[in-house]
């Protein structure tokens, strides 16, 4: 093969080309070499930290390995090994087949990168930092949200998280977040978890939690044309229940309860009605909740036998004293540069306290009286205490600011 002849013919036919072929090929070759060189494995060695191989030995000689997952500012939703950079929650983790369920996601994206992800199964594209969608699986399904974070045109990170919706077997229902078997009569529970059975022509209505009328039955005693009648022969309520109320109460079909309405209406016990018009009375220590139309005992207690009783397994009736700050004093609050201030504190009913100064001062203990380090600029002192175990009280968090006396230049 005569390469010089080929080259001459190539050049002749390329006359008038927009760019010289040789230059284009040469530039491309140079760029390829540069890209090849840059594509070589980067010479940066791995950087070890104090954590990389850290282990502590217990008294038994066994090795304890601490982690540090919640260190980063965007740790929320990232401390589950299967969740990386996002969190995926479901409205009901256990439900029945075909029931509508809400899936919500939140992607950690503190630097505002562009999100490119998908939710599977289904392949739903996700580009927002948070959102939700409705699903209705017919079998137990694990949903996975995954994708990438993009800065300009380059991928800067990935995210992946999962959650599972468990579907109960046929004939089972959900009760307290679990699939439960049927009632004692062998039949499935009502969807509200009850085993109430109704005599035809009545059927159980889960929304009103009562037997309601369906088609069939006899005419009312007054001859009205309704197809159902109540056992007492009177007209059925507008919500299809047969609940009867004692005067002066009337039946409220919206709340499905007997209520007291109108001026001067009082309950059978001569006391004023609740704010929702009902005359429901609650045991000692319980309060009536007008939103749920039911009595509510304090946390850790439940109604039994007409009174609130303690449930120790739920932490009921155990009184844990809340923290009590009897002293938190930083004096003086205005000092000359280089002077010190006195910090004293006394907190009862706590596990521990720390006092931290923005100048580096740091003390521990539920009480103390300390002299600060020399103060050369505005300094903030913060008292932080942990309540006793089992207490529902909030943590103690107080601060004080010490300022410097200004120097006036005349």
């Amino acid at each position: 093969m005569n390469f010089s002849r080929l080259w001459r013919r190539f050049k002749a036919r390329s006359k008038g080309a927009l760019i010289p072929h040789g230059s284009a090929i040469a530039v491309s070759a140079i760029l390829i070499l540069v890209a090849f060189a840059a594509a070589q494995p980067h010479s940066r060695g791995a950087v070890a930290s104090a954590e990389t191989r850290f282990v502590e030995h217990g008294n038994s000689g066994l090795q304890i390995v601490p982690a540090s997952c919640p260190s980063s500012p965007h740790y929320v939703g990232e401390c589950n090994p299967s969740d990386r950079g996002c969190s995926l929650s479901v409205g009901q983790s256990v439900t029945t087949a075909g029931t509508a369920n809400t899936i919500s996601w939140n992607i950690a994206n503190p630097l505002g990168y562009t999100i490119s992800g998908s939710l599977n199964p289904g392949g739903v594209l996700v580009s927002s930092q948070s959102g939700q969608m409705t699903v209705a699986p017919t079998q137990t399904t694990t949903y996975t949200l995954s994708g990438t974070l993009v800065f300009w045109i380059f991928t800067q990170g990935t995210f992946s998280c999962q959650n599972t919706i468990t579907i109960c077997a046929a004939g089972q229902v959900v009760q307290n977040g679990q699939c439960v078997t049927a009632c004692g009569d062998g039949l499935a529970k009502n969807s509200d978890g009850t085993c109430t059975r109704c005599t035809s022509p009545f059927t159980y209505d889960n929304t009103v939690h009562a037997c309601t009328c369906t088609s069939g039955g006899s005419l009312f005693a007054d001859g009205s044309g309704k197809t159902c009648s109540c056992p007492d022969g009177l007209a059925i309520n507008s919500d299809n229940t047969c609940t009867r109320c004692v005067a002066p109460q009337t039946y409220n079909a919206a709340t499905h309860a007997c209520v007291c309405s109108g001026t001067g209406c009082s309950c059978p016990d001569s006391q004023p009605p609740n704010s929702d018009g009902s005359c429901t009375r609650c045991p000692v220590n319980a309060t009536y909740n007008s939103s749920t139309h039911a009595c509510q005992c304090p946390t850790g207690q439940f109604i039994q036998g007409g009174q609130c009783v303690c449930d120790p397994s739920a932490g009921g009736c155990v009184t844990i004293p809340a923290p009590s700050v009897t002293q938190w004093q930083v004096r003086p609050l205005l000092v000359r540069s280089g002077s010190t201030t006195n910090v004293s504190w006394n907190v009862a009913n706590v596990q521990s306290c720390t006092v931290t100064g923005s100048n580096g001062d740091y003390w521990t203990g539920s009480s103390g009286a300390k002299v600060s380090s020399p103060i050369t600029q505005q300094t903030i002192y913060r008292l932080s205490c942990t309540p006793l175990t089992g207490s529902s009280a909030a943590a103690v968090n107080q601060s004080a600011v010490v300022n410097i006396v200004p120097i006036f230049n005349e």
Binding site: S28, F54, S72, G157, Y362
Partner: protein, 273 residues
């Protein structure tokens, strides 16, 4: 006229070879840009920061080289430079001292790390609850076990289901001699995260130290099984702020520790039985 039109029409066509060369050139340029993306981004950072420096930009760039992302971004010294600059310009920025404390901690400068995290806590308190976690971590590393446990417990009020806080709190409780408490806290955390190898390992240690050898054996066996499938990515996830390239060493060290505990407990179990 026809001749002129014919000449114009002919010269408007681009020869195929030229088109192919353009395609080759553009493809090569794209390849180079893709391959050199990190140096290009670094150059972009330097130029944009020089032209318009701000605390917010410095914090963003510092986080970019310190956060959990592609390993090509990780540069703890560059992160420290930008974050220090941000702290000087805006000391009230929410997490700036927190991040600087983490960097000092990772670099083994525990005294400086403690000083910085104390500044963070004094300035922001419970606005950044995981700053108490960081302080607990630093205190644990320097042997201040009582103080460390107090900070971990304080943080757990804000995030009671955080497995790492439970695991680390149990670590310092074990070192402080509060073994039963360590066992309780890890047992409770395992209800939320039953296959977590860190929790299983620490729980096994605590159970062993209170004499529940057979239960410790069960836990450490579970830990041994769980750790065999631990990936580099999962390790990096449990130790944010570390170089992703060091993950294989971290995984190996953790596996060695669990394996050692497994052998120790199994041996004790045989004697015990």
């Amino acid at each position: 006229m026809t001749r002129m039109l014919g000449r114009t029409k002919k010269s408007a066509r681009i020869p195929l070879r030229v088109s192919l060369l353009w395609i080759l050139l553009l493809s090569t340029c794209a390849l180079v840009v893709w391959t050199l993306r990190e140096p290009l981004i670094l150059a972009y950072e330097d130029v944009s920061f020089a032209l318009a420096p701000s605390a917010e930009r410095a914090y963003q760039y510092g986080e970019r080289h310190f956060g959990e992302s592609e390993d090509s971004n990780y540069d703890i010294d560059r992160a420290k430079y930008f974050l220090s600059w941000a702290a000087q310009k805006d000391p009230d920025a929410l997490y700036v001292y927190h991040e600087l404390a983490r960097i000092e901690f990772l670099q083994g400068n525990f005294t400086e790390a403690l000083r910085l995290i104390n500044i963070q806590i004094a300035r922001h308190g419970t606005d950044t609850p995981n700053s108490f976690y960081i302080r607990g971590l630093i205190e644990g590393y320097v042997g201040m076990y009582e103080e460390s446990a107090a900070d971990y417990k304080y943080f757990l009020q804000f995030d009671p289901h955080n497995w790492a806080a439970a695991n680390d709190c149990a670590w310092v409780l074990l070192k402080a001699g509060k073994v039963q408490e360590a066992a309780d806290i890890t047992s409770k955390a395992l209800l939320d995260d039953p296959n977590n190898p860190w929790l299983l390992n620490t729980n096994a240690t605590a159970l062993y130290e209170i004499g529940k050898v057979s239960l410790a054996k069960e836990r450490i066996t579970h830990a041994q099984n769980a750790v065999t499938t631990l990936t580099d990515a999962e390790w990096s996830h449990a130790y944010p702020g570390n170089d992703p390239l060091i993950a294989p060493q971290g995984v190996a060290a953790f596996k060695e520790a669990v394996q050692s505990n497994y052998a120790h407990i199994l041996s004790a179990s045989a004697t015990h039985e």
